[in-house]
């Protein structure tokens, strides 16, 4: 008996073919420009290579050297420190802003939304210029204003190793809070008003409403923003490098700057690749934990 494909089957094949042919385009570029360099990088991390010479296989020597290099660890710690400082503060600040803008007492929602979002569209070079001038200890705008309020000794915003990371976190919040704020604003629109009304009837005040209705309802937005912020914060480089150059005396050198210096100032490509892979693995582990978290959160949502 001949098996004749049904009309449905043929239609499915045709649609699949179209879908795959569009995807093929993407995959070609993905393989050439993402997958291939990633695999090459892994291979290079086991070699000694100065970009113009030949690659010499040296086993795990690069990884050994890194794990014994105190500058590697201090850079790693600096990036991690930034993750711990920036992620919660950006989330809290942008959430608070979103609440304020969304509140029924606020006039001019659109204007405020635009104002707080505007820094996001500035490029990192502009941010660096603005904040380098603002944070100058003797002639910068921040210290000058503080002097009017009675500041005696100049604050060394980016030249005091104890303060520099607070300054960097502060300017990063100013720069990037707009995007998280927009995501929160969008999430806030999805919360049905009757939840709040029901809570009011039960005697909840504004703080209770935020704590027990708003925050839990935005669980998915929290997880998404936290995920994006953690990955992005581990990769922090631009604004730090342009404003402090890794100073003072290396106390604000991030892991990415370390990789850049090893790879493009020292041209030790093998070790730079190895450092990149260590960062890659750390970020993958954290992402995996986060995905697990997301699944747990989703299960809770479904079971409600």
């Amino acid at each position: 008996m001949n098996w004749k494909p049904s009309k449905n089957f043929v239609k499915k094949c045709k649609l699949n073919l179209e879908a795959y042919s569009f995807l093929l385009l993407f995959f070609v570029f993905y393989i050439i420009f993402t997958l291939y360099p990633v695999i090459q990088g892994f291979i290079v991390s086991f070699t000694k290579w100065n970009i113009t010479g030949t690659k010499t296989y040296i086993g795990v020597s690069n990884y050994n050297k890194l794990l014994n290099d105190s500058i590697f660890w201090s850079s790693f710690w600096n990036s991690t420190k930034f993750v711990f400082m920036a992620v919660p503060t950006i989330m809290i600040v942008s959430f608070a802003l979103a609440l304020l803008i969304d509140s029924k007492f606020t006039k001019g929602k659109v204007i405020f939304r635009s104002i707080f979002f505007m820094p996001v569209i500035l490029s990192v070079s502009i941010i660096a210029i603005i904040w380098s001038y603002a944070l100058d200890p003797y002639t910068g705008s921040i210290n000058t204003i503080l002097k009017l309020f009675g500041l005696q000794e100049p604050i060394f915003w980016v030249t005091d190793p104890n303060i520099v990371w607070y300054s960097i976190t502060m300017l990063t919040i100013w720069w990037t809070m707009g995007s998280a704020m927009i995501l929160y604003l969008a999430g806030l629109q999805d919360i049905p008003a009757d939840h709040y009304e029901a809570a009011e009837i039960d005697g909840a005040n504004a703080w209770h409403k935020i704590l027990y209705i708003t925050i839990p309802a935005l669980n998915r937005v929290h997880t998404l923003i936290m995920f994006l912020l953690i990955v992005g914060s581990f990769k922090v480089f631009g604004q730090v490098f342009l404003i402090t150059g890794g100073g003072p005396s290396g106390s604000s050198r991030t892991l990415i700057q370390y990789i850049y210096e090893i790879g493009f100032t020292r041209f030790d490509m093998g070790r730079a690749s190895a450092a990149s892979y260590i960062l890659f693995i750390v970020v993958i582990l954290i992402t995996a934990i986060q995905f697990k978290l997301m699944k747990v959160v989703q299960k809770e949502d479904v079971s409600k």
């Binding site: 970009i51 100058d136 003797y138 030249t159 003072p248 005396s249 100032t265 020292r266």
Partner: protein, 444 residues
């Protein structure tokens, strides 16, 4: 259904065409991407004048000495209408990275400059070719004996000359003549009296501190980047220290005790300097300090800002040995297979002319690199440079070259020094840390 299929196919084809054209239009077009800060001449079309040879010259000379370079290039271009030297100034901190990646990527400039102490690194990483061989091949006769530099030997590697210096760099002590006279450390003509040795120099600074108001500092000297490293190196050699690195240049061999004494001297001077000031050159130009330790490269700018109050002396001999730090900047020829023989010849003609007219470059505050320039009337008439020309012919010492570490600017020296000056780390610990960190990278 058919219409939707047609639309989908159409979109698919458009995507392919767009992507294909995007890929093909990113070709090498170095003349179009030339950031032509230099020439005052109209840009015009690069294909317009078939006879004009364009030479792209990469340098790291931003700031006031960069302006002098652009004037010199304009003059050369107007004297030689069949050649156009295009100056592309790169960011100082990223220059060497950019040069190397440009050569690797096939976008190398036709001519470049380099600190002489980095020529070994450029040669070892196959970024430059021997300049003398290229000159001889192009039939350009350069008088190599005319060139004098503390670091010229470092540019001759395996018997081949890889660079030609175009200046000599010195660390100098700028001072404000008016303030010096006011606080009694200079005579009525502005001639300084700082004593004969380190202790009398410190006494001079104490004297200024006692007499000057709080907002005028006795001395300014940067606590970051290469400046403290230069001062430390000068003191190390003035204290009789030798042999900073071993002969193979794989580890440090500087004498620990002398190094610590030199660090203590740098620390002592730093006690008079405001902490962590970022814009010391602006402060000096505003008249906020009496002394300013900086390089000869700032001379032009400070002379213009301070006018009659401007004074400068070569960095003084504060210890037993009369020597000081020096380096040079010079021309190098990047390896560039796209550079035609005509371009190479044009570039090297410019190099030769620059050497023969080297006094013009001394207007920037640097000292010339050719004997004929020192002896010329024009050089002797230059107001700024002739104030430290007494340093000429004296003993100078440069950092040893290395194939991957530029000790002058390396974080392995700069960061421990910054910690000592700003965070109170002891000179003994600093010397140890510098040795450990340098030994790590020197033997890589």
């Amino acid at each position: 259904m058919r219409n939707i299929c047609k639309v989908k196919t159409f979109i698919f084809l458009i995507c392919i065409i767009l992507i294909a054209s995007a890929c093909s239009s990113g070709g090498n077009n170095s003349t179009n991407s030339a950031n032509n800060k230099g020439s005052n001449e109209s840009k015009g079309s690069t294909e317009g004048n078939n006879e004009q040879i364009e030479v792209v010259y990469w340098n790291l000379l931003g700031g006031p000495d960069g302006e002098v370079l652009l004037e010199i290039i304009d003059e050369y271009n107007s004297l030689n209408p069949n050649v156009k030297i295009i100056s592309e100034t790169q960011d100082w901190g990223q220059y060497y990275t950019k040069l190397r990646t440009a050569v690797i990527g096939g976008n190398a400039p036709d001519l470049a400059m380099s600190h002489m102490t980095r020529v070994l690194e450029l040669q070892d990483s196959q970024v430059i070719e021997p300049i003398q061989v290229a000159a001889e091949r192009s039939g350009i006769m350069i008088n190599y004996d005319d060139y004098v530099s503390a670091v010229i030997d470092d540019s001759i590697i395996e018997g081949e000359r890889y660079a030609l210096p175009f200046d000599n760099l010195l660390q100098v002590m700028f001072y404000n003549k008016r303030l010096a006279i006011e606080y009694g450390i200079a005579d009525a003509d502005g001639k300084l009296d700082i004593g004969e040795d380190f202790n009398s120099f410190i006494d001079t600074l104490e004297k200024v501190k006692a007499k000057a108001p709080a907002e005028i500092y006795p001395i300014l000297a940067s606590q970051s980047s290469f400046n403290p490293t230069i001062t430390w190196f000068t003191f190390y050699n003035q204290l009789g220290g030798k042999q900073f690195l071993n002969d193979e240049r794989t580890k440090t061999t500087f004498d620990e005790d002398i190094a610590i004494r030199a660090l203590e001297a740098v620390n002592r001077i730093n006690e008079f300097v405001p902490p962590r000031a970022e814009n010391m050159h602006e402060m000096f130009m505003n008249g906020d300090s009496v002394f300013f330790v900086d390089g000869s490269w700032g001379g032009n700018a400070y002379a213009n800002a301070l006018g009659d109050d401007f004074g400068v002396i070569p960095f003084p001999y504060l210890f037993d040995v009369e020597t000081m730090w020096s380096d040079s900047q010079g021309f190098v020829l990047p390896i560039n297979p796209n550079r035609s023989n005509e371009k190479t010849a044009a570039a090297l003609e410019f190099v030769k002319w620059f050497g023969e007219n080297n006094w013009k470059w001394a207007r920037s505050g640097q000292i010339s690199a050719t004997t004929s320039s020192f002896e010329s009337e024009e050089f002797k008439a230059l107001p700024v440079v002739n104030q430290y020309v007494s340093a000429l012919g004296k003993d100078v010492v440069a950092f040893p070259s290395h194939k991957s570490v530029w000790i002058l600017f390396a974080p392995e020296t700069a960061e421990p020094m910054e910690k000592m000056l700003n965070e109170g780390v002891s000179p003994a610990d600093t010397a140890k840390e510098i040795r450990e960190r340098l030994d790590e990278v020197l033997s890589d």
